[in-house]
């Protein structure tokens, strides 16, 4: 399948099958709305059998969003493209501790009710399990 070549921007690769549109939802709040982007769904892959992928022209992910995406899809690769060349390939590392980025799923947690910055210990990286430092609830981001 031929698609328009990305000259400058970001390719989010190796998203698990079905994650492309979900990932786009997450990215929406960071986008201006004027970027050219393509979401690939069910792309044949030697590693994953099928994968999703997103290409966004003139857009670069910040570290917090990269971490967030890695929590949802631990094996993603983020390629930074400049002048049609891959200048940087990032495999976001899931840290042992996370601050901000994602809301606690426990609606009774004080971080939700009074807006304190959520903090987590990463209990497991595969599958990703976060433990809220306030209420100790454990959950897999999704």
């Amino acid at each position: 399948m031929k698609t328009q070549m990305l000259v400058n921007g970001t390719v989010i690769d190796h998203l698990p099958e079905g994650m492309g549109l979900h990932c786009l939802e997450i990215l929406k709040k960071h986008l201006q709305g004027s970027e050219t982007l393509i979401v690939f769904i069910n792309v044949p892959s030697s590693q994953q059998k099928k994968k999703d992928m997103i290409k966004i022209q003139d857009f670069y992910l910040d570290d917090a969003t990269s971490t967030y995406l890695s929590l949802l899809a631990p094996h993603i690769t983020i390629n930074i493209i400049k002048d049609a060349q891959v200048v940087k390939k990032i495999n976001p590392e899931i840290p042992f501790e996370i601050k901000g980025t994602i809301a606690c799923i426990n609606s009774r947690c004080i971080s939700n009710t009074e807006g304190y910055t959520p903090e987590y210990d990463v209990q497991s990286k595969e599958p990703v399990i976060l433990k809220c430092k306030y209420c100790e609830f454990e959950f897999t981001p999704g």
Binding site: I110, E114, K133, C135, E136, F137, E138
Partner: protein, 305 residues
């Protein structure tokens, strides 16, 4: 550096046992009607955003018996919380009026936030359905006083284990002391996964689990009963669970002769009134123990011993 009690894990087993030695001395002082002045000139702030009888009053009684003073509120009405003041701002202010803060709050993790914004020690008097570490201290103290040691005990923890915060801190501390446990709760009110995982991963303890306490009552040395936490359930859900378990004299016939029945109180209907006459029913003695144990805790955190 100030020390808080937000989570029962904030105290090591050794620190807990040291507290109990002090609690014995405090108990002796109460029994001897001895006037203490260990906390003379010190102020305890009790910030109770949720209803309480025993926790708040025993904290206040403890501070008075230590010769200190108390200020605070027992509901958010009449305080600036009702005007929308944040927990952080309330804590910053109250910390400047007091030497130690005891807080109860409906949101899980609130005591941790309080400890972050306070420059005086913070004691968690119950944060939502999360933890109630001082209740656990008096539960452990009562068990130790009545049974002599934690060795070879089998503790049945029953009732609303999902929202019953006292059961969460108790299960963790009992596991840390190597005590065998079994959990009985109606379907839907089981012990949360994160507690079960903590027990197995950190302490290698895997309690037996059932939906009916009759399955375990004959083998338990301690029968710990909790009420359905109405305030954390919808009314329909509460009605579904309300009568789902009741400890009665008939049920206790199959319990060990030297078993003890504990309850953090308040009791609603989960322990029948006729059980009160049973010498194994120790929940009011347990409630009394809240005073010497909290005296020991306050004095320790204030460094006045």
């Amino acid at each position: 550096m100030k020390k808080d009690l937000v989570n029962i894990k904030d105290l090591s087993n050794e620190e807990i046992m040291k507290l109990f030695v002090v609690a014995d001395e405090m108990n002796q002082a109460i029994q001897n009607e001895q006037k203490l002045d260990l906390c003379k000139g010190k102020i305890l702030a009790t910030l109770f955003y949720e209803a309480s009888t025993r926790t708040r009053l025993s904290f206040e009684s403890a501070m008075f018996r230590l010769g200190g003073s108390v200020l605070g509120f027992s509901s958010t009405e009449g305080s600036s919380v009702s005007k929308g003041e944040s927990l952080a701002d309330t804590i910053r202010t109250v910390a400047s009026y007091s030497d130690v803060i005891a807080i109860r709050h409906p949101n899980e993790g609130s005591a941790r936030v309080a400890s972050q914004f306070s420059n005086v020690p913070v004691i968690n008097g119950g944060d939502g359905g999360h933890q109630h570490p001082t209740q656990t201290l008096l539960d452990l103290y009562t068990i130790l006083k009545e049974k002599g040691s934690f060795a070879s005990l089998n503790v049945l923890i029953s009732g609303d284990l999902k929202f019953g915060r006292t059961t969460h801190s108790l299960a963790i501390s009992l596991a840390r002391f190597g005590v065998k446990m079994c959990f009985a709760s109606p379907p839907g009110l089981e012990m949360p996964d994160y507690i079960m995982r903590t027990l197995s991963d950190e302490f290698k303890v895997i309690p037996k689990v059932a939906n009916n306490m009759r399955d375990f009552i004959h083998e338990a040395d301690v029968i710990y009963v909790t009420r359905v936490q109405r305030e954390r359930l919808g009314e329909m859900e509460y009605l579904k669970f309300r009568d789902s378990y009741v400890v009665s004299e008939e049920m206790l016939r199959s319990a060990k002769k030297d078993a003890i029945v504990l309850h953090p109180l308040p009791r609603v209907n989960e322990i029948a009134r006729d059980v009160d006459q049973d010498p194994r029913a120790l929940y009011f003695k347990q409630a009394y123990n809240g005073v010497p144990v909290r005296m020991a805790l306050i004095a320790t955190l204030l460094g006045v011993l």
